[in-house]
């Protein structure tokens, strides 16, 4: 039973390319446990919910408390701190780099004494559940490469995203919903986002993230048209399967199977998706946890609630994008608004998972593609002052999934500009994410164009210090 994990491979179901597997897939009884079946190592979590504040939330104003910045507000950041770190072209030409003090007071929370700013009071209040990683750093200073790097381990589109790798490796625990689901909320306001960051690259295409729309029916046209019942649909799919089987035997093209498995998935989603999207069975006190926005489809709050419902149904990987964090301008005005949108729902998601016993085997992650500069972009005295991109250090927090609760890892300098202790590279973050799911990031590879690819390329170190 070596093989149970490898699993069910010997019950010829797991090799997605074998005709037997095709027959299985076509008959609708998919054993969806991925190419690994079981982890290389014992997993700490079975599922992931990744919350990405696209555009880059300011670590300086939220999680990385530096009293020195308030003291030195208006003075130039010392050149010895800034050194030669790459700046974006938006602030690179500035003649002065005056420090912009944090926009809100910080206070300590809980038994762990974590410092969180008053912009995020609910997240602060649950910080005993959270594991802060304050020393994350990336090589990129612009959104598109940094986001692709974060999700796919490479700055240019075309590599599989972490969610696709996980789907490929472990499949799902629910055959009626996609393995990997993506939800957006808010307006991107100029920050590029495209499906390559939840794409499948060279992996079979049914591993790509399925985007749920920011609306009350998350998947369009999932209902049968008038006059068409389930049985009709079934007959049509069976007939198509027979044709496809011939085509597959002829061409051996794996994409034939991918496409058919998507037809079958869509068939099953006709029942599963409306059930997930219908929140009428949620009691008021649960809805209140997520805040008033939860009643509006497409908000971050609603997506958090949907994420919990998908989590209960065993969906393996979810990415929730919160948009509108690129505060080059008017950070004083915009940041508090954005924070208010996500603060309560993000905290509620963690606590709601916890009371259901789901947090212990779900990894919740929260962060951005990079951080923001402690110095001002533009005129510091102008009311629409902002902060530029900063990849040198920024904060992520993890919760659940076998990470230490009420813990903080890594340190930055007094200016929240450079990592001074325990640096965590994006590849390390991804290696750790895979490790928590039981996958050895060095062993999960896919051969393409003559070489083996993996999510972390030739890098990545598991941050074992944060594991409980």
């Amino acid at each position: 039973m070596q093989k149970m994990g490898v699993g069910a491979a010997s019950i010829p179901l797991l090799d997605p390319l074998s005709p037997a597997a095709l027959a299985q897939q076509l008959s609708g009884s998919v054993l969806n446990t991925g190419v690994l079946g079981s982890g290389h190592i014992q997993p700490r979590a079975k599922r992931v919910i990744c919350m990405h504040m696209l555009g880059a939330i300011s670590h300086v104003d939220t999680f990385d408390y530096k009293p020195k910045l308030a003291e030195m507000h208006g003075q130039d950041i010392p050149p010895s701190v800034r050194e030669t770190q790459r700046l974006s072209t938006m602030s690179g030409g500035q003649s002065a780099f005056p420090i912009l003090g944090p926009l809100a007071e910080f206070r300590q929370h809980g038994n762990s004494g974590a410092w969180v700013s008053d912009l995020l009071p609910h997240i602060g209040s649950i910080s005993d559940e959270l594991c802060f990683i304050k020393s994350v750093h990336t090589e990129h200073v612009n959104h598109d490469p940094a986001s692709k790097f974060l999700h796919t381990g490479f700055q240019i589109a075309g590599r599989p995203s972490a969610g696709a790798w996980v789907s490929y490796a472990l499949g799902s625990d629910n055959q009626d919903l996609p393995n990997f689901i993506v939800m957006n909320s808010g307006i991107s306001s100029g920050v590029p986002q495209d499906s390559a960051i939840w794409g499948t690259g060279f992996l079979p295409s049914h591993h790509q993230g399925v985007q749920f729309r920011a609306a009350s029916d998350p998947v369009l046209y999932v209902n049968d048209p008038q006059g068409m019942d389930r049985e009709n649909r079934r007959n049509m799919l069976d007939a198509m399967s027979a044709l496809a089987q011939d085509q597959y035997q002829d061409s051996l093209d794996a994409e034939v199977i991918s496409r058919l498995s998507q037809y079958e998935m869509a068939y099953r989603m006709q029942e599963s998706v409306p059930e997930v999207a219908d929140i009428s069975d949620e009691p008021d006190y649960i809805l209140n946890m997520y805040g008033p926005d939860v009643h509006t489809p497409g908000t971050f709050a609603r997506n958090c609630l949907t994420a919990r419902r998908l989590c209960e149904r065993g969906v393996k990987f979810q990415t929730l994008f919160g948009m509108g964090w690129d505060h080059h301008l008017a950070i004083r005005q915009s940041l508090p608004v954005r924070c208010r949108e996500i603060d309560q729902p993000a905290a509620a998601l963690v606590m709601d998972l916890k009371q259901r016993g789901l947090l212990e085997d779900t990894l919740v992650m929260f962060g951005s593609e990079f951080g923001r500069t402690p110095f001002a972009q533009g005129d510091i005295d102008n009311f629409i002052v902002g902060r530029d991109h900063h990849g040198g250090c920024f904060t992520w927090w993890f919760a659940g999934g076998g990470v230490k609760p009420g813990f903080s890892y890594g340190q930055t300098d007094d200016f929240a500009y450079n990592v001074v202790e325990n640096p965590v590279h994006i590849h390390d973050l991804n290696a750790t994410l895979m490790h928590i799911l039981g996958i050895d990031h060095k062993q999960l590879t896919f051969r393409f164009q003559g070489r083996d690819f993996r999510l972390t390329d030739v890098h990545g170190k598991v941050i074992s210090d944060i594991l409980a």
């Binding site: 039973m1 179901l13 982890g39 014992q42 209140n288 606590m351």
Partner: protein, 463 residues
Amino acid sequence: MTEFIYFLGRFHVLVLHLPIGMLLLTIVLDFMSRSARHHYLMQALPLCWAATALSAVFTVVLGMMHFSEGDFAGPSASAHRNYGISVAVVSLAVWFMAAKLPALYQQMRLYSNVLLIALVTMTGHYGGNLTHGSTYLVEYAPQSIRALAGLDPRRTEVTDITLADPWHDIVHPMLMARCSSCHNNDKQSGELNMSTLESLLAGGKSGVSVISGDADNSELYLRISLPETHDDFMPAEGKTPLSDSQREIIRWWIDIGLPADTLLADLSLTSAITSVLAIELGLADSGIQQMRQSFPPVADETIAQLINQGWQVRALSRESNGMIVSLLSKGQPVTAQMLEALRIVSESLVEINLASTGMTDELLSLLAGFNTLQTLNLSNNSLSDKSLAVLYSMASLHTLNLYGNPQITDGGISGLSDMENLSTIYLWGTGVTQDGMKGLMAESAGLMIHGQSEMVLLDSSVE
């Protein structure tokens, strides 16, 4: 200045290979030049001898610098020094003959060549004793050769853990493998010699090396357990460090009073240290095999049957026979037939997820005797107090999720306090009261009880 001399001195171990190589080359050329065909090589000999002699002198100078560090004591060190100097002196003399007294050189060269090879061999031998320890060469030699070298017979391999000697079979070999290249009879870095128990106890420059019964204040344990990047970490200079389990063994050995010349059978051992010792002695299977062995393997056909019944089956990991099962299709009720199908694999089941499957008291009773279960999710079902007795006998259970079973009350959960391994329980949405949870908490030390999450909701207009 002293440090700079030490710095140069350490190049001795690198440069010393030059005169050896040149000497061998020169002797080969000298030998070949005896034939008429290669007689012309004679012309190169003065130059070759010059290179040999000068590199030997250079090596001796670096050697004296290295020697001045003071770590080297004992007969091997002085023998190495004396032989080394004589190599330099003799090769200088031969160079002089080859260059100025060719007739004499012709007469003497056979004897001088043999002499130089002998001297270099002796120098190298004693030098090797300094860096590798004098027993390095014959460590794996046949017992007869070891006897010739004046060494104790090699200890016979331990095949029964109870017959192992804590010092001679366990700790001493570890120290010999990792530490003895710098702490031996001939080289004593920090004035510490680890070749015998007596010399180890004598300590070194920093004082006593081990305090019997107190590993945490023993220099030996402290130095091997520092972060590897620390200046004082041992073994120094990037040599292979001891493994975590070796550190643990040394800690154990110091804490129980440095036992030697005794048997493990005569010591009282915890099961934890026994398994570490067994692995160190090569008498135990690795952890992976232990884990695999702790659950019986399940045949592929059996797994296929479970899948056909509607179960999703995963292994705990690819290295384990332990199994996690949940329903393939979420939201479908579980049947008695499905649960009965699990019985055949019950000894390998580690986790069952039965959330929202319509579990009833009757169905739960089908899980009686599933004693290897560690995690059981029964949330959102209609179980009552009656059925919980089935759980009491699940000796391995550490996580139990009962959330969303309103008929479970204080009376039902009070019986769970006897479950020794239970560490986490979820009780939100049950009929259990706050008092009931407090009562259970008081009865069972270390049990984490999760009720409804408390979250302070702030007025969203507050900034």
